[in-house]
Symmetry: C2
Subunit: 336 residues, 2 copies
């Protein structure tokens, strides 16, 4: 299995490290199909296996970590042009999310699928905007398209719904899909104003310096759109989701909720006729009334009732290991 990684920031590096950690496991599981990384691209630099240079795990990571760059400068090369220089079997798309037009990530995924390559993506933009097109393209070309890490990081919600719960009719999913928002709302429960809670989340490294993407609900809405398409077989895009951010939540509202035994949480909901992200009043003993930065989802099934799952919604090794679970899923089938 020859892997090409597009996007070598926190997540791409995290996945690379995961491969190194699980080297023996993978060697034993796939004796006739060694896992190798044959190409790596980040925003400004790249490297791939050619006569001049062979990618080596520690060397590649070391170069990136010490200089912030891989060995060759991209200059004006597109990621697709670099892909075309390399023989590979599977693309891991871990580039920056672009929720407007999908950006280079969408082009990369299209390009790989058209070449008949399997794709694992944690890049939400392409999935939130063009899921139907991409899954049709994958099917047409006999490729796998997997994206467990795109929703909930280390929380295995997609594989839970589509595999462990196969055979259930899933009636709805409600969940906390953005840990930063939940952290801020949890702090507001203690009487801390929104702005201060946001600053704290930024200082702790949870929120970005421009927190719009999280607090306006854009990130959660992308995930809601992905779940609608992949679990409910709907055909929606990001813009179909009704979105309200947490910047509308006042300290006064939080206090009034508390008086009634409630908390305010930022809940995404998906069903056959609902597609929403909004702050909601939740009873304190409800499964989604949780504090802190975890992601949590409640899946309502027709035969087994409610099933909840929670996990860390972000993080290098968390998301890296979600990519690994997709890789194993694909390799099990390619090597069956």
């Amino acid at each position: 299995m020859r892997i090409f990684i597009s996007g070598f920031g926190n997540i791409g590096l995290g996945f690379f490290e995961t491969l190194l950690i699980r080297e023996t496991f993978l060697k034993n599981r796939y004796k006739d199909d060694p896992v190798t990384v044959v190409g790596v691209v980040d925003s400004k630099s790249y490297e791939y296996n050619d006569d001049e240079y062979k990618i080596c795990g520690f060397c590649t990571i070391g170069s990136k970590k010490t200089t912030g760059r891989l060995h060759k400068d991209r200059n004006s090369l597109s990621c697709r042009e670099i892909m075309d220089m390399v023989d590979f079997d599977l693309l891991i798309e871990a580039g920056p999310t672009n929720i407007t037009d999908g950006g280079e990530g969408l082009e990369n995924i299209r390009h790989a699928l058209r070449k008949g390559k399997d794709v694992i993506t944690v890049n939400k933009g392409p999935l939130a905007l063009a899921y139907s097109e991409l899954s049709a393209l994958a099917e047409k070309n006999g490729c796998h398209l997997r994206f467990e890490g795109s929703v909930g990081g280390g929380m295995p919600i997609i594989n839970l719904c589509n595999e462990a719960l196969v055979g259930q009719r899933i009636i709805s999913i409600q969940g906390i899909f953005n840990g930063t928002c939940n952290l801020i709302l949890s702090r507001m429960d203690s009487g801390i104003p929104f702005e201060q809670a946001l600053r704290e989340a930024q200082q702790l490294g949870y929120a970005e310096s421009d927190p719009t993407y999280d607090i306006k609900g854009i990130d959660a809405a992308s995930k809601v759109s992905i779940l609608a398409n992949s679990v409910f077989n709907r055909n929606v895009t990001f813009s179909d989701v009704s979105v309200t951010g947490i910047d509308t939540v006042t300290g006064e509202a939080v206090r009034m909720a508390a008086e009634k035994g409630m908390v305010i949480r930022h809940i995404g909901e998906i069903s056959n006729d609902k597609l929403e992200v909004a702050p909601r009043l939740i009873p304190k003993n409800h499964p989604l009334s949780v504090s802190g930065s975890l992601n949590k989802a409640q899946v309502i099934t027709d035969m087994a009732g409610p099933i909840t799952v929670s996990g860390r919604g972000a993080g290098k090794s968390e998301t890296g290991s979600a990519i690994l679970s997709d890789l194993i899923w694909i390799m099990d089938r390619r090597n069956a």
Copy 2:
């Protein structure tokens, strides 16, 4: 896929109903492999497809529900003898749990695997006592042995660990594996004495008239043993589990715990060097500090940290649908 069902009580019937509910789904998914039930056995009666009689879903269920019996009396016939009268591909073992020697369930599973038939069991006794033998027998004969419904009913803990979390190293699992015990302990939080809480659980249909199996921790310990073998690849049996029941928990202990912000919960824990079921002090904000009859588990992974899952630990359609998920898993592979 010709199915033979051994055990046609609540769970066996529940699975049968699940098949009827999902008839169209199964027909569409496996166009060339229709799912049929070709034999059903309960403790006293049976029926199978022969020239005289064809099993029909409603007819079989109707007979059982109206008369408590299937169409033919077993008399002295063993389930294995009835199995030998029928051509089938897969055994569903849903008979009564026997934790002393595995009982007829263990004999049935051995017999089916020796004949090269796939097996799905929700019967904990055979797994808790003879997991290694049975999984070796399955492997030797090229059969699948699946048992999602044996632990946690509708809570998909085994498939979560072994499939959704494949690639993770699972460090430990802690969980509430018996809903009846958790219901009783939850009621004791409100100051209700153990005996009264137990009576209530019996009146609500959660606890059996002989509640030993639940409150002494035997049921939870069976599940701990199954998880140790199937998720941790250990080679243990029921008797290796250190077990303390909830009948040792006093109202005084519950009150003292509450004063310290704690609750007492009946926790099963599995790791490479632990195998225990016991009442434990749990902080009120801990993920396992839950009330009611749900099952819940916290899985600690090396790369994604803690992942929790919860669901209904018992029930006809819950467990029936867990069997269905195993059936689909097997059929996907048999029809690949």
